[in-house]
Symmetry: C2
Subunit: 242 residues, 2 copies
């Protein structure tokens, strides 16, 4: 199939996937560029691809639509238009039985979320996305994951009700200085769930009201705070094998 | 003083500071917003400020110039024009006697450099910026440091000649899997210097030719690599107190 008009109905529908509301309605999201499309394909989430060059890509059982650079530009959210864009189905995911958990309570920066997802895959943590956290299917988040969005176990849930109904974890708020230094942390037996708060305001009051255990990273008093993606990564690195 | 024209000669000169070449000629750089200007002032690097509101800011012995929103926009590199922009003198810096060292061999993303600087301050590492690394005075780098640019000890140097002439450190390349797992690392006695490579290509051949010791972060084989800012931070966190 060949599409040359940016006003083509299919293109107009798919370009709406740049907005969360329409992603949630269609249960689909877009990925741009070779690497992400390949990862989507290998993971079984790739529905169809839009390409500039008919001969450059071939995926079994995935529809290929040839488009003009103008159409590609309409679908793309990047300054430099990619050679390929893939349409993916929303990822059907559950938490694993054996992994620890990172709970994100209001992370707003898509780059931070992407970085956290890469680290969570590296250190065998699952992720719970609180309802006030940036969308995992945001295009900047997806790019920052470097494809790890297809390898992370994640769920979206209300943090307070999740904590109430899941007693397989011991819950800890990551704080600037309260609680146990993670170097001295010993797991009590249950899996560990660590809550990271918003970049500016930290963990929400609603969460603080139900969790009273804290962990912190020992650091110099010169540095007000680490980047939240770095802090989350260090905590997962340190607690992951305890 | 009041400046209302974007064509004012002073404003034209200062707006050139958005480009590295002109920063290096004038030995000055710009910082935007309350927090960074305050950090610059407290650290003694603030030369003058440009403000929209005459009554909002007051710094002892720092010239204050009132400007129009158009002039502020001309000086600013952000989408949302700030209330204040400060002109700072280049930071006169040396390495400390007691800190470990992080050597950056081709880090290209200004956000990554900023994140690394925050973490280095937190974990008492100094930084050597190799000649192929993004400029520390890049506006995105400065913003990502969250003010820690005024607290980090750093030098810019050719990595190969630095290594040749500085034997107070034991040098290690941060690798994906070669060498010692940082959890098992024991410092031999000297200070430690760890080299982080470029986001895509890793450590340069020139550096690999002169250093044969490696460290790596133990991680799941599902994750091709951590974000370089995260990897550098975890290494500094782990080696900082050994």
């Amino acid at each position: 199939m060949l599409i040359t008009s940016v006003n083509n109905e299919k293109i107009r529908e798919l370009s709406k996937l740049q907005i969360k509301k329409y992603r949630d309605i269609q249960n689909k999201f877009l990925v741009e560029g070779d690497h992400l499309v390949n990862e989507a394909y290998k993971s079984g989430y790739l529905l169809e691809v839009f390409v500039l060059d008919e001969n450059k890509y071939d995926f079994n059982n995935v529809d290929k639509i040839i488009v003009t650079p103008e159409v590609m530009k309409k679908l793309s959210e990047q300054e430099t238009t990619p050679d390929i864009i893939g349409v993916c189905t929303y990822i059907n995911n559950t938490l694993s039985d054996s992994n620890n958990l990172l709970i994100l309570d209001g992370i707003q920066d898509p780059g931070n979320l992407g970085t956290i997802i890469r680290s969570a895959v590296a250190f065998n943590f699952d992720i719970l996305l609180g309802s006030n956290t940036v969308d995992i299917y945001n295009s900047k988040t997806i790019r920052s994951t470097e494809g790890m969005i297809f390898h992370i176990n994640f769920v979206k849930d209300n943090i307070q009700s999740f904590v109430m109904y899941n007693d397989k974890y011991d819950y800890y708020i990551a704080d600037m200085n309260k609680g146990v230094n993670i170097k001295d942390f010993n797991r009590a037996g249950k899996m560990v769930a660590v809550i990271m708060g918003n970049e500016g305001n930290g963990v929400s009051d609603a969460t603080r009201n139900i969790i009273n255990n804290y962990v912190h990273i020992g650091e110099s008093d010169k540095c007000e705070s680490l980047n939240v993606g770095v802090a989350a990564s260090i905590i997962m690195y340190e607690l992951g094998d305890k």
